[in-house]
Structures are given as C-alpha cells and as structure tokens.
C-alpha cells in the first residue's frame, strides 16, 4: 500500500503542475480573442488561424485540465443523498464508480479516438477554413486528455481504497479548499471589520454559480 500511495503522490503532483500550467492558456485565449476582435475591426486584419487557435487552447484547457479538476474534486456531484451518507459509504460508492464507469469510459474513448488521431496525422488534414490550422494536434488532445484522466482515476481509486483500509486519513487529496466565494467573503469581512460582525466561513458548494 505504501508503494501505491507513493505512486498516487507522484500522479497528483504531476497533474497539479499540469493544472497550474493550463490555467495560463485561458489568459492566452482571452488576449488572443480580444486582440483579434480589435485588430479585425480597427485594421481589418484577421486570420482564421487566430480564431482557431482560441478553441485549440480552450480544448487543451478542459481536456488536459479534467484530471486536475478531478484531483481537486471539482466535477460537480448531485450530493443531496451522498451528503447524508458516511465518508466510508461515499468512498465505497466512489471506488465502484471509478472501477465500473470512469476507467472503462476513459479506455473506450482512448480506443475510439486514437485511430481518429492516426488518420488525421497520416493525411495531414487541414482545417476546412482558409488559413486554418493543421488538425492533428487538436485531435490528439482527446486520447491524451482521457489518458491523463485515466491515470488520475487510478490515483483516486488508490486513495479511496487506502482510506477504507485505514492507510490514509482522508479519501481526497484536497479537503476544505477555499472557494472563490470564501476568499471574497473573507476579504470583504476583513475590510469591514469595524462595521459588521466577523463573517463565518462560506460552506463549500462548488456547483453554485
């Protein structure tokens, strides 16, 4: 079990790094999109390459970031029943879900999308838009993204099992992370200490927007 937990630590570390990297792609997409819009209107310069690179970047964000979000337990759950169950029961449900659903899902999608990538790579397929980009890097994101998610699923499975066997204190790597709302509430409360009572922490509810 110790060796397995070492492996999960390594996987978690890698995906955490990856998550920190892909966040900058969001900023790049924002700047390219805004820049392109301004250039198109002001100087009538535009290229489909700029339009396409935006969604290449965003696709990279959510496909490569999926494992990171899973690591931080950021994929929403409908939790009004699971919130009433014990941590143990939830860990068992999660393990079953990972083994029976998530791992097969990743395998099937990798299996289906790899030939698609090989096809576009061999043919050197280009975008159907004039001045567009070559297609295979975007297609490659699908098998790569699900492979990374698969690796993270294994890591999460080990953590749940380690929790059930008592080798780990928590089933998740990140517990009680501050949400954007909590940080905002703390900041506002800090500024207004002199006027209002101290604000208690906001409950963690990632699905509320």
């Amino acid at each position: 079990m110790k060796a397995l937990l070492k492996i999960t630590d390594a996987i978690d570390w890698c995906n955490d790094r990856l998550g920190h990297l892909v966040r900058w792609l969001v900023l790049a997409a924002v700047l390219i999109s805004a820049g392109n819009a301004i250039m198109r209107k002001a100087f009538n310069i535009s290229s489909n390459a700029y339009l396409e690179v935006q969604w290449y970047l965003f696709a990279a964000v959510f496909l490569l970031g999926a494992a990171y979000v899973f690591l931080h337990n950021g994929h929403v759950r409908i939790d009004f029943i699971s919130a009433r169950l014990s941590k143990r029961t939830n860990a068992i449900i999660d393990s079953i879900g990972i083994v029976v659903f998530l791992i097969p899902l990743c395998l099937i999608l990798i299996d289906l999308s790899w030939p698609y990538f090989v096809r576009t790579y061999r043919s050197g397929e280009m975008s159907e838009n004039a001045g567009g980009l070559i297609r295979w890097p975007a297609v490659l994101l699908i098998p790569v993204g699900f492979a990374i998610l698969l690796v993270q699923a294994v890591s999460e499975l080990i953590k749940r099992i380690a929790f059930l066997t008592g080798d780990r204190a928590e089933p998740f790597s990140y517990v009680g992370e501050k949400s954007a709302e909590e940080i905002l509430a703390e900041e506002l409360a800090g500024k207004r200490m002199d006027e209002s009572p101290p604000a208690p922490p906001v409950p963690h509810a990632p699905e509320a927007r």
Partner: protein
C-alpha cells in the same frame, strides 16, 4: 427479459440515469456511464448496431470546435476579476447614499446594484455575498424588516441568471441551437421588467408598511456638502443633462452610426438604447472630470462620486453587450473584450495582484472544465438515447397533454421549477433541455422564447429550499449571533435561517409572475428577435460574401486574404447582395 428491456428501454434509461446521478458520483461521469451502460445492453439485445459509439470522437471534436462555448471561460474569468476588484462595494455604498434618504431607498439601491452586477459580473454568489456583508448590516442598523432585507438581497443576487451576459443564456443558446446574440436580445426586456417588478414591490412596501423600510437618518449620510445640503439637486441636474444628451443621441443615432459601419439597415432598438446610455455616461464622466480638474465646485460631492463609481461598470456593459448588439463582436469576442476590460479596470483600481490573477484563472479552469465535461457526458448519453428513439418516446409522453403549447410550457416549467430545487442549472440545461427542445420545436414554440422562459424559471432554483444557493450564501455571511453595532452601539439580533427563507418567498412569487408574463406575451422576447432576424440576415449575407471569398481563395491559392476583398465588388454574388441592400433601403 430482453423483450422487456427492448420495450421499456427509454424509461429504464431514465431510471438508470436517476440512480447513477443520485449515488453522488460526478454528474459528467454518471451521464457518460448511463449512456455507455445502456448502449452496451442495447448492443447485447441487438437493438443497436455494434458500432454505435464509433462517431463519439467526432462529436467530442465538435464540442471542442464550438465557438459559443468559448464564451463560458471568458465570462467566468471576467466575473471573478470584477467581483474581487471592489466594484460591488463602491456601487453598494454610493447608490445606497443616493437612495438612502427616501423610504425603501436602501432596498432600491440593492435591487439596482444587483441589476448592474448582473450585467457585468454575472456571478450570483459574489453578488449575494457582497450585499450580505455590505448592505445587510446597514439595513439592520436602520431597522429594516428582516424578511424584506434578506429577500431583496437574495433575489437581486439571482438577477445575474436572467440578465445578459449570463452563463445560463449561453448554455441554453447552445443547447437550443440558437445564437447567443438572439438569446441575449430576447432576455433583455424580460430581465429589465423583472428589475422593474422588484422595484415596484419595494415601493409598494414603502407605501403600505413604511416602518419596514425606513429612510437613512441624517447622520448616516456620508457625502454631505459643507453647507449641509445632501447634494441631490446637483445630481438631479447632472442626470437631467446627461439624459437629455442620451435622448438627443437616440434620435440621431442612425444617421451617425450607419455611415460609420457602412450599414444600410435600420438600427435595432436595443443597440440605440445601449449607445445612448454610453453617450450619456461618457458625458457625465467628462463633466465630473472637468469639475474636479479645474475645481469648479459646480457639482456636489455626491454627484461627483456617483459619476466616478457608476461609469466604469456602465462602460464595461457597453464594451460587452454594446459590441454584441451592434454586431461588432460575437458573444465570444464580447466575453474576451469584457475580460480584458475587467483586467484593465482591476489594474486601475490597484486591485489586480498576481495571486488574484492566478486564483481567477484557476477558478475559470475548474468551472469551464466541469461544465464541458457534463456536456461530453450528456453527449455520450444522447448517443444511446437517440439510438433508442428516446425523442419519440418523450414526444408521445407530451402528446397526451391537453392545452397544446401553453399546456406543454406549464408542465415544462413545473418540471424545471421542481428540478431546480434539487439540481444545478448546468445539469438541467445539459440533461433536460436537449430532451425537451425537439418537442418544443415540433409544437411550433419559438426556441429563443422557450429559452428565455427557462432562464427566468431557472432563476428561482437559486431561491427555492432545500437547495437555494443564494439562500446558502446569504446564510453564510449574515450574522448568526446577536451583535453590538459599532456605530449605534445597540444590540442587533441575529438573522435566523427562517427569516432568510421567508424573505425569498415574495420574490419567488414575483419571478413566477414574470415567467407567466413571458409565457403569455411572447412578443416581449420576440419583439427584439425580429430585429435580431434582420441582423442575422445581414450576418448571413456577410457569411455568403466570406464564403465566396474563401472559395475564390481556394481557386487562386496564391492570393493573400487581404487583397481578396478588393475584387469582391466585381463578383456577381456581390452585385446580387448590393441589389438586395438597395431594395431594403428603398423600403424604408
């Protein structure tokens, strides 16, 4: 056994979905699991071909390519940067000072700021938290009725769902196959009407129960002149001047803008409205700037403060909604421009730090990823669902309903209302809407109208127990214990959870009234869509031109794209388009 499965495939699939989702595994994976699980059962039972999922990678690629969905990270990022830039605090304080001296004024300020935040940040949680921490203590200090105070705050926070640029409208537009621009244009009037309804309610309370919503006492008014005047007269004068300028602009808008962007069609009403607002607000900013620069003393402190606080969000609204309605930018580009504007605004306010930028990007990655994965999951689900002719089953289910369109809409709204009590709008939009949209379309229901009704309805999901998130967020920041007010030194009792729940009831009723009004008056939505169609026609023409251009480029691959536009005039397609344009002009 197999026969039973084959006969009841779709209902079994729904039960399976319900079961998997309720186990609490991530929604995205539960959806995909249901699709795969039933897909393979169907293959075993020889209901489906064995290559059922063969096209799945192509569909995922389609999601990646989807330009509309790009707006989700852009607007999310913009919202997070703005909510942390201190804009909401300044707005609440200043607008509270403007309306505070009249009865119900603080509540009016909360509604108005809620609407402004809705049109800029679009984040319910942030609006409720800011108002709960800033406005609620002031309301309590001045003896506001607790039910009214909490209700106004939670309800105003949820305005972000119904007023563009909300994420709900983007997701609904994508799922209904309509353009985001149309959805925004359609939602604008109903959204503003809802704000009006809230305001009317507050005013009614102020008239019937004046003690529930007292005015701010003299000593609580911050921006007083040296001679003791409140400065309101100066503010009113300024507003009158700017309003006159705006109205004047609205009369000449068409003759100024049309030659500028080379358009022959008449301008849409929402475009004129937004541009006139922009002219008025820039005039106010210029006047206030001149007043301060030369120390003229012509404006009261209140008027000056209002101008400087109110203009940045108004400019941002123009930047985003204005460019989208004008057709200068697509909603995706509008989102990017808004995000850039938010970054600039936060920098000017000295609120932008490296850690804030990192947090905002991180939150954007998390939100966008879970939303896109729910979409991928629901795509897998829809493969099996469509293979099993699920739409036919759903259609038959609704065919038995009496009442035609209205009957259908009532049932759908009840369904969404009840589902909204338990699950998040992203799940509703990705699971329920794709199932209902084809039925609605077949019944002849305009899908933009349908989408706006649903967006209005989904708003209530934030206010309805047991899982009303606006209620949760207010609960988390409202005082849980009795406390001594620092300014009046009086003990103020805690806010009970019951008071928060009770406060939302009146506003849920108001929202449902608004849903009913939109159901009964489709022209509230379509009044703008008809103009939208005109803009669309123009876009379509533009697309035709582009298509012709790129076709030419393909024929002559050596020609750079820039020079290709020059010979466009000689193109027969172009002549046809010009002729159409001339006809349009003559019609006017």
């Amino acid at each position: 056994m197999l026969a039973f499965i084959a006969e009841n495939f779709v209902p079994l699939m729904f039960c399976g979905l319900l079961f998997f989702l309720l186990t609490g595994i991530p929604v995205a994976f539960g959806l995909a699991a249901t699709g795969l699980f039933f897909g393979y059962i169907g293959m075993e039972a020889n209901l489906f071909p064995t290559n059922l999922f063969g096209a799945l990678p192509l569909r995922i690629f389609g999601i990646m390519k989807n330009d509309t969905l790009l707006a989700i990270p852009f607007f999310t990022f913009m919202g997070i940067i703005l909510e942390r830039s201190g804009m909401a605090e300044d707005l609440l304080e200043t607008v509270g000072q403007v309306f505070g001296p009249v009865r119900g004024g603080l509540a009016i300020a909360v509604v108005l700021v809620g609407a402004l935040l809705a049109a800029t940040t679009g984040v319910v949680a942030a609006a409720v938290i800011s108002m709960g921490l800033i406005s609620l203590p002031i309301m309590l200090r001045n003896g506001y009725n607790r039910t009214i105070a909490t209700g106004t705050i939670t309800a105003s926070g949820t305005l972000a769902q119904a007023i563009p640029p909300s994420l709900v409208l983007i997701v609904l537009a994508d799922q209904l196959g309509r353009s985001v621009g149309d959805m925004y244009a359609g939602a604008l009037v109903p959204g503003l009407l809802l704000v009006g309804l809230y305001l009317a309610f507050v005013v009614a309370v102020a008239v019937v129960r004046p003690k529930w919503v007292p005015a701010l006492p003299m000593e609580a008014r911050i921006y007083r002149e040296s001679n003791g005047a409140s400065g309101h007269i100066s503010l009113i004068v300024l507003l009158t001047i700017c309003a006159l300028a705006g109205v004047t602009w609205s009369h000449y808008h068409q003759s100024i803008i049309n030659p500028m962007i080379g358009r022959g069609l008449p301008a849409a009403g929402d475009e004129i409205f937004i541009m006139s607002m922009t002219v008025a607000s820039f005039l106010a900013l210029a006047l206030a700037g001149i007043n301060r620069l030369f120390r003229l003393g012509l404006m009261s402190r209140l008027a000056e403060r209002v101008t400087f606080v109110l203009i940045p969000p108004l400019v941002l609204i123009f930047l985003v909604l204005g460019t989208i309605f004008l057709g200068i930018a697509t909603p995706t580009e509008g989102g990017a421009m808004g995000a850039l504007g938010a970054l600039i605004m936060a920098t000017l306010r000295r609120a932008l730090t490296f850690s804030l930028l990192g947090q905002a990007l991180d939150n954007t990655v998390k939100l966008a990823t879970f939303v896109l994965f729910i979409l991928i999951g629901s795509t897998v689900f829809s493969f099996t669902f469509n293979a099993a002719d699920g739409h036919v089953w759903v259609e038959q289910l609704f065919a038995k309903l009496p009442g035609g369109q209205i009957g259908f809409l009532i049932v759908v709204n009840l369904l969404v209302f009840v589902l909204g009590m338990f699950i998040d709008f992203f799940e509703i939009a990705f699971i329920v809407i794709p199932i209902l949209a084809p039925v609605a379309d077949k019944m002849g229901i305009d899908l933009v109208w349908f989408g706006v009704i649903l967006a209005m309805n989904l708003q209530t999901s934030f206010l309805t127990p047991p899982f009303g998130f606006a209620l949760f967020y207010l609960r988390s920041v409202a005082p849980k214990t009795d406390y001594r007010d620092r300014i009046t030194n009086k003990m103020i009792p805690a806010i009970t959870t019951g008071q928060i729940y009770k406060g939302s009831i009146a506003f849920i009723v108001l929202q449902l009234i608004m849903v009913a009004v939109v159901v009964l008056n489709p022209e509230l939505v379509s009044g703008n869509i008809n103009k939208g169609v005109k803009i669309n026609a123009e876009e379509a023409l533009q697309e035709l031109r582009d298509a012709g251009r790129s076709a030419r480029e393909q024929r002559e691959p050596s020609a750079p794209s820039g020079s290709a536009s020059a010979p466009a005039a000689a193109d027969p397609m172009q002549q046809l388009l010009d002729a159409m344009k001339r006809e349009e002009d003559q019609k006017k």
